[in-house]
Amino acid sequence: MITEVMLGASIALIVMAGTYNTGMFILSRRRIRHPRSPRTQRIYVFLLACLNEEKVLAESLARITALPAGNFLALVIDDASDDRTAEIARAADPRRVHLLQRQLPDARKGKGAALNNGIHHLRSSGILDGYDPRDVIVCVVDADGRLDQHVIQAVDPYFDDPRTGATQVGVRMYNRHKGLLARLQDMEFVIYGDIFQSARRYIGSVGMGGNGQFMRLAALDTLSAGHGGGPWSDSLTEDLDLGVRLIARGWTNQHCTTAAVSQQAVLDVKRLVRQRSRWFQGHLQSANLVPMILREIPGRAAVDLLYHLSSPVLILLTSLLPLSFVVATAGAVIGSIEAGRLLVSPMWIIGPYLLSFTAAYAYGWVYSRREREVGLGRAVLLSHAFVLYGYIWFAAGWWGLWRMLTGKQTWLKTART
């Protein structure tokens, strides 16, 4: 009896995840209308926290300084780099690009600390004197981030709504043509943005992604109030943490589907698993947000965020199931060879295929609409590979859990190529 209950529960786990994903897909297909309201002239400040970014920084700054909008600037926060990062920032257009150099031993304390220092510098240097914090939009961009040229025009209308605290744009991989792994990462971010983030606009639980993340300075101020340390936490996933705290302060997070920031895909499986392990560990740390969600976030958004924050647990649990499948399949093959006849019906394969890969058709359709050069047929084939690619999270999850249990907090950043 107990065995049957546990087996049934494992099936319920899959059904729950499948139902949630299907619901999000349906919700993401709804169109959202933004009320028109009087336009305000705003200033955009791009923050780039950089630690040894000489390989990618020049290109990112070139794209930022070439933006067609008028009122913006960039602040490069050099986190005590050993390479030419500061030199590259100094060589950029001085009317647009400012440099803040952090020094050891205060530097290299994580991205959150660097960004907090950047906000403090913006205030203390007088750069923002005369601006209303409600009309200052701060954007976090990774050093390898390449913003679409129309990004400000795309994002600006979201801030016409005074309740909007932050807007996340889509994320793409600019080197997505360099092999299957890069392509699958591009697909991963497109699906996450176009299905999950889009659906979460209706739920009120849109998350922040750390790259291409636009925030109203007045909203960031509400996160700093009381402790003076700055809006960002020292979590490994400071973006997730910040997005949840903004919602808890009563701000609305938006997701913009009409502009994107492109970043560099990781081209090596081992480095990719390590990167995802870091994210996974940060996600586990974010469990400390649960009391705040319970107290301060309204019902529907709270339930979705709690599910989102608990997804690492679900990933660890579901990781046992493919392993079970592999063992059973191997057993079936060995048993059939020993018996000299097929011990399972070939029809058994059809069910697993339909159950596993039906989602691939939806993902392929979504991706083909975003990436027109990849036709629907090829996108569907790619999304079959994408379903298997998702299993990377299982390895990353156990690694991240192990690091957390053994008290390891430090991570080498993902190297640029």
Binding site: S311, P352, G390, F394
Partner: protein, 66 residues
């Protein structure tokens, strides 16, 4: 989390319980699936407790505003 789409992709394991004959490795495969099920039951227990706390906060906040 970006891995969320992967959660819905392990459905084939549901078919394991319907394996028609006893095969080598099946006991271990079933044990893995049972472990996942047991973990999920524990997850549901925590989820019920947390959602109960949320409902309590909702009623308390509604009382504060009335």
């Amino acid at each position: 989390m970006y891995g969320k789409p992967a959660l819905g992709t392990v459905l084939p394991l549901a078919g394991l319980t319907a394996a028609p004959e006893v095969l080598p490795g099946i006991p271990f495969a079933r044990a893995l699936q049972e472990a996942a099920g047991a973990g999920f039951l524990l997850y549901c227990t925590f989820a019920v407790a947390i959602l109960s706390a949320k409902i309590w906060f909702l009623f308390r906040n509604a009382g504060d505003h009335s």
